[in-house]
């Protein structure tokens, strides 16, 4: 049986969409659309989509790679934790290579500090049981997509009476970051391709305040090439009609109201705070931390983390790239001193980062 996903990669469908996109693209000015999510960025490079689009449709990569926007200070705290003899760190794989101020988790593991890479945070439950003399700490970064899985893990830990499982919380939420880009006004965005995975949790309606307040079309999109092309077509359609509404291209996964169970869990466990985004700065009401009732799961309420003072990387323009103000190739470090093997900035680290995607899939020699 053919993989069912193949139909969303169908060339004939894609060519038809490209033709329609070309018909709806204005001849006299450029339309600037931002794909917010890193997985969209990767798909766009992976399928060579930029060069198939009309010259007047410009795609900007947004701040939607959770690893890329995780603050330098957070990474430094994680590195400090990795060095503690009574701590076993549990992390998603793409956080391993992110450079902190002077080290990275990958380097720390090389020095013999145990760090376990997991695919799902729930694996930490078994690790905590198997290592009763250790504090097992999940590096809880990520957006709305990942947060419920982490919260479900501590709910499970509570149910099983585990006392040695903790989170280092760096969770962030996406819509406030999108709004920050609009308030700033510098990126000159005409429409958003909204993140599909995040939207499975928060629902398409989460973007309604943005469309109303800023008069900007938003389309929630899936991750296959025809999904993204159809979303671009829908955005162009709205722009041509002078409309600004939320449309949901990814109906096979995203509901208007999102996932009420996951949202209720986030509401129960988390409070909203102003949070630091790497390269961008503090964005109001953009982070989630555990509520006071659940602080016992927060490693920072158990241990005083004495991370080294953060040292930002000179010359790195990840911040501008994350805001759609610059392309990876605009950075002097790109492809020279900053490569996936020796990343300087976070955008080069995660496979979902704009710089890594650009380095991997385009000619920069």
């Amino acid at each position: 049986m053919k993989n069912w996903v193949e139909k969303f990669r169908d060339e004939k469908t894609a060519r038809g969409l490209l033709k329609e996109i070309s018909q709806l693209t204005p001849k006299d000015h450029t339309v600037r659309l931002m794909e917010v999510c890193g997985t969209h960025t990767v798909a766009i490079y992976r399928y060579g989509m930029r060069e198939t689009l009309p010259a007047n449709v410009k795609l900007l990569s947004g701040p939607g790679c959770p690893v890329c926007v995780t603050g330098l200070g957070y990474i430094d705290k994680a590195i400090w934790l990795a060095r503690q003899d009574d701590v076993l760190l549990v992390t998603f794989g793409d956080l391993m290579k992110v450079p902190g101020s002077t080290s990275s988790l990958l380097k720390e593991r090389g020095r013999g500090h145990p760090i376990k890479v997991v695919y799902s945070p729930i694996e930490a439950i078994e690790l905590a049981k198997a290592n009763p003399d250790k504090k097992v700490v999940i590096l809880a970064v990520g957006f709305e997509t990942t947060i419920p899985g982490v919260l479900a893990t501590i709910r499970q830990a509570e149910a099983e009476g585990l006392k040695n499982l903790f989170l280092l919380v760096g969770h962030k939420i996406v819509p406030p970051a999108m709004e920050a880009l609009l308030q700033d006004g510098m990126a000159k965005i005409d429409g958003f391709i909204c993140p599909g995975h995040v939207s499975t949790i928060i629902g398409a309606k989460a973007y309604e305040p943005l469309t109303k307040k800023y008069g900007l079309p938003c389309v929630v999109a899936g991750f296959e090439p025809t999904d993204i092309l159809q979303a671009i077509l829908m955005l162009l359609g709205q722009l041509n009609e002078g409309q600004a509404k939320v449309e949901n291209q990814y109906q096979r996964a995203v509901r208007n109201e999102g996932n009420p169970k996951a949202l209720a869990m986030i509401e129960k466990y988390c409070q909203i705070i102003d949070d630091q985004w790497r390269g961008i700065g503090v964005i109001a009401k953009s982070g989630l931390r555990l509520r006071d009732d659940f602080k016992k799961w927060d490693i920072e309420s158990v241990l005083k983390i004495e991370a080294e003072p953060t040292k930002p990387k000179p010359g790195c323009i990840c911040g501008k790239i994350l805001q759609g103000l610059a392309r990876p190739s605009d950075c002097k470090l790109f492809g020279k001193v900053c490569t996936p093997d020796e990343p300087v900035g976070a955008c080069m680290v995660s496979g979902e980062g704009s710089c890594a995607a650009a380095f991997k899939h385009t000619d920069h020699r």
Binding site: N3, G48, M49, K97, L106, K360
Partner: protein, 332 residues
């Protein structure tokens, strides 16, 4: 259950007993049976290829093979893509104290089977034992020697040459990752770990038109293609739709964010062949059971910058870099 102890590596009676019971009994041939310090080989006149590889893998038993089969096939394949018929092999073991002898026997069984089916004799070897934690269970080094066939010698690729791959790519990387992370149960992810000795007859037949061959192990197809054109005046254009990838590999890549171009293979060859001979070679490869999914996947182009690009199904293009990827699953 009997375990490996430091005495098994100390060179005395325990060493000899282990070597005889586990290895000589399985690999049995007159050269090895002498248990001399080395094997004397009777070489005919000609050119020879020699290749060595050290194998470390976690898990040591995986879907589609184990470290023993991998170690034997690995060096066989390196010799085969040098255009030579592998005949002799050495093997060196580093064993961790406490390793189960029954597991070592299983591994030796599969080494014996892989070597015998490729007509290769394991003629000399070495066994060392290190303390617990100083090695991870078992490491195996193999070295293979073989005589170069026909008039084969590697030649620089030229514009117009075709790029052939002998089967679906990335299966080994996908299967190992899935086993290691215990991700998908009942998946059809099976390593392609196998000997390439089935190609020998065709290499001889096409020895004048085959330009160069490689087996895309670490770094996968992407890294090998870059190495094949590096330093030449050529680049390569791959047609993504022509690349054989199994549905299971594709699904794993979709799930964890891998790119099949960068996943290692352990039983495939990449062959660059003159365009005139490409369709004949392809037909012959496909007529072999092990090569029935071979495909022409791209063409060599003039390009001073040695780019390896992929034409995507949408008509766009992307570049494959020579950077091997650490297999770290993405966050979401």
């Amino acid at each position: 259950m009997k375990k490996i102890t430091l005495a098994h590596g100390a060179g005395g009676n325990k060493s000899r007993e282990l070597i005889e019971k586990v290895f000589v009994s399985r690999f049995g041939n007159p050269e090895l049976g002498k248990l001399a310090d080395g094997a004397a080989l009777n070489l005919a006149e000609g050119n020879y290829a020699l290749s060595t590889d050290t194998h470390v893998i976690e898990p040591i038993f995986f879907s589609g093979g184990d470290i023993g089969k991998l170690a034997v096939c690995g060096s066989i394949n390196d010799v085969v893509v040098c255009g030579a018929k592998p005949k002799w092999m050495s093997c060196g073991f580093v064993l961790e104290e406490g390793f189960d002898i029954s597991e070592l026997e299983r591994i030796a069984d599969s080494m014996a089977e892989a070597a015998a089916s490729a007509g290769v004799k394991i003629v000399t070897g070495d066994t060392k034992v290190v303390g617990p934690g100083q090695a991870d269970k078992i490491y195996i080094n193999t070295t293979a020697v073989g005589q170069v066939m026909g008039k084969y010698e590697p030649k620089a690729p030229a514009a117009g040459d075709k790029v052939i791959v002998t089967g679906p790519v990335g299966q080994h990387g996908a299967a190992i990752f899935n086993d290691r992370e215990k991700l998908l149960q009942n998946s059809q992810l099976v390593s392609d770990c196998a000997s390439l000795d089935w190609m020998l007859g065709l290499i001889e037949k096409f020895s004048e038109t085959i330009k160069i061959m490689r087996d895309p192990t670490r770094g996968g197809l992407a890294v090998v293609l870059n190495e094949l054109v590096g330093g030449s005046s050529c680049g390569i254009e791959i047609v993504e739709n022509d690349l054989p990838v199994t549905e299971a590999t594709k699904s794993l890549c979709d799930l964890v964010g891998f790119d099949a171009f960068y996943l290692p293979c352990e039983g495939r060859a990449v062959v660059i062949v003159g365009s005139d001979a490409a369709t004949d070679l392809l037909a012959d490869l496909r007529s072999c059971e092990a090569g029935k999914e071979s495909a022409i996947i791209g063409t060599v182009l003039d390009d001073a910058r040695n780019r390896v690009s992929v034409k995507t199904g949408l008509g766009g293009s992307r570049v494959l870099t020579g950077t091997a990827e650490l297999m770290l699953p993405r966050i979401c």
